[in-house]
Subunit: 173 residues, 2 copies
Amino acid sequence: MKRTSFAKLNCSLAQTLEVVGEWWSLLIIREAMWGTSRFDDFQSRLGLARNVLSTRLASLEKHQVLKRIPVVERSGSQAYVLTERGWDLLPSVAALMQWGDRWVHHKIGPPMEFFDSRTNKKLAPMVLRSDSGAAIDPSHIEARAGRGANRETKLRAAQALAQRSARRNRPSL
Amino acid sequence: MKRTSFAKLNCSLAQTLEVVGEWWSLLIIREAMWGTSRFDDFQSRLGLARNVLSTRLASLEKHQVLKRIPVVERSGSQAYVLTERGWDLLPSVAALMQWGDRWVHHKIGPPMEFFDSRTNKKLAPMVLRSDSGAAIDPSHIEARAGRGANRETKLRAAQALAQRSARRNRPSL
């Protein structure tokens, strides 16, 4: 299916989804984070069709999330590894995974947990913090037009501000 | 297009994507976070086809991310608002958006920025922290089987641990 491209949208969430938002892409990235690097291993561990995997890997490579490196011990063979840009998706992956832990898998408990291998401490829930380090209550988050805002985004930011009063019935988390 | 369902996968990331991973879904959630609540407003602000919007809204409502409430000032009319479960996606949305700021929109600067409306301070980058509050270097993150792990996930966690040595060429962020 031909998708609408988000590439022209003046929104960094849309840009991220343009790169990693296709069905399966984030699960491929998760696999790469856990050390999977070979086509056949991605295929057997995720259980997706080879043509879909092939398309997704090519797209993630084109967007410099993954890169191909030669496998030293098997000449002609190649492995996919995350780039710095790819590894930088870890906070997003962790936040999405914690949401699934809380809201879908809360009865059975988390299938996977993250630890700091050096201190053996568990990853805390990802929370919004200000530059000063203080946690921000989600109900106090306000979106404002940034340096890269185009005219439409500036208008949307102004609308969002005006609509804040309509959010009074929003639960505090 | 009929999608492979992730619902049976023993992975909280897959479960989250099952709920919000369809093309457009997270942008609809972003719009709702900025105060958009009416079908026509979602449609005009996102510029997606009405039938796609309708399908996505129904799915997000089914998964209790959005709920419909009557619009008091216009009888018979309804609005979509985020549930507590929906608002809890804010850390994920913020993390994904920051990735786009850093890696796609870095030349023009962020189109939107988040602030704490009470302190006027900017949202800091979402970072991985342990329970003690200390930042965790992504290269020290280790995934371990959790309480809800099935047999396959336990095997995968053991494999991931064994593969950590293969990650030595991973850049530190």
